[in-house]
């Protein structure tokens, strides 16, 4: 599905294959380059190497189209409008997910400045999930969530995987990595190695 070969960005170098419906966890300490790697796959920063989706070279398709299929979800999502719903392209489609994430549907009218970090994280994830991407690049998606909310997020992502969505999940949490992923990669010194 997603093929990453000799992808390099600054000190980070990686090669691996992600199959449809598979979840790869990338674990490593802060600053090791997990976000750099995910951003490079999404083509958000200049990088070198070969990345393909279903055999199609990333550079052969427009970058916005690539990112709608291979979507990066930041640990601290950005907001460009005051009201929550103005930051969603398809608010109505997001409402069931938002309710599942234990937020009321009326939160669309809330001001983003008054959201907690955890609320922002859940809403950012819901916003990305409305795209129905082929691959999700999740950058510490539960770092600001309590155990209950974390379990809900993990369940939603597992359901997406069952429909064929591939997931790359970066996390500090070794237990979570083993819980959500079928393969675990350890990142050290900018390189990733599969843990057996």
């Amino acid at each position: 599905m997603l093929s990453v070969h000799s992808l390099s960005r600054l000190h980070v170098v990686a090669s691996f294959e992600l199959r449809a419906g598979e979840c790869i966890a990338i674990q490593g300490p802060s600053g090791v380059g997990k976000s750099l790697l995910l951003r490079a796959i999404a083509d958000l920063d200049p990088n070198e190497g070969t990345v393909k989706l279903d055999g199609i070279l990333r550079e052969s398709m427009p970058a916005p189209l690539w990112r709608r299929q291979v979507t990066y979800v930041a640990a601290e999502p950005g907001w460009w409008a005051d009201a929550v719903e103005q930051n969603f392209a398809r608010w109505d489609e997001a409402i069931p997910l938002i309710e599942e994430l234990n937020l009321p549907p009326t939160c669309g009218a809330w001001n983003v400045r008054r959201l907690s970090t955890g609320e922002k994280q859940r809403l950012g994830l819901a916003r990305a999930l409305t795209l129905d991407s082929r691959v999700l690049l999740l950058d510490e998606p539960t770092s600001a969530l309590d155990p209950n909310a974390t379990a809900v997020v993990e369940a939603i992502i597992a359901r997406r995987r069952s429909t064929g969505t591939g997931v790359i999940w970066s996390t500090h949490d070794g237990l979570q990595a083993r819980r959500v992923a079928s393969r675990l990669f350890i990142m050290s010194g900018g390189r990733i190695e599969e843990s057996t």
Partner: protein, 265 residues
Amino acid sequence: MTYIRLDYSDLVLPALLVVMNGACSLALQLGLERRLAIAALRMSVQLVLVGYVLTFLFAIVSPFWTAVAAIAMVLFAAREIVARQKRRLQAIWSYGLGAGAMLVAAGTVTTLALLTQLRPDPWYHPRYSLPLLGMILGNTMTGISLGLDVLMTGLVRDRAAVEARLALGETRHHALLPVTRDALRNGFMPIINSMAATGIVSLPGMMTGQILAGVEPVDAVKYQLLIMFLIAGGTGLGTLAAVIGGVYRVTDHRHRLRLDRITSE
């Protein structure tokens, strides 16, 4: 048309007003006296020199020397644009974008006025083209520097928001639209304010100069209106060109935000 001719000795008394400012600065320990003296001296030398240069240019009426003077004015204005920005594009781009936008905007508007409304003979006559270009450049420069400053500062401040939109598959134009609009609004604001205040709050320098030189106020007003319309057109065109050019430069063909191309002062 008659006007009251001034000698350099007539400027001594008004110059004492600047000396008075310096004395105030000393008395109140503002620490501005040195900068005030340098600025006043610099202005005097620049104006006297430009007086001789213009006298020379008006005497020879050469297309080559008129073009050289116009390009020098654009380059000095580009330097001023760069100096006014807290965050700017790297190296040659910071000068090139400002100079290019001004050349396009002020050049187009000045040529338009020379060829259609003023029609001097020859059309590039420096007596008309250079003062006109100078007035348009002065105002266009303000619009461009404000527009670019707001664009660069806004992108650094709103990086997370812009990148969130890019990550969701929006194009660079769409993702940068709020910051771009903000930059354009700020670039346009001085000329809008200036047009709204002209005639009530302030009498523009050119119109005042013409009246002092003996031109009938109604005729001076027509010239001033012409100049204001040209300035508004030039500022709009220049700000638009500079901000759109800036948007292209701080992004790339893969719709990535390239803040690495911006430096701080």
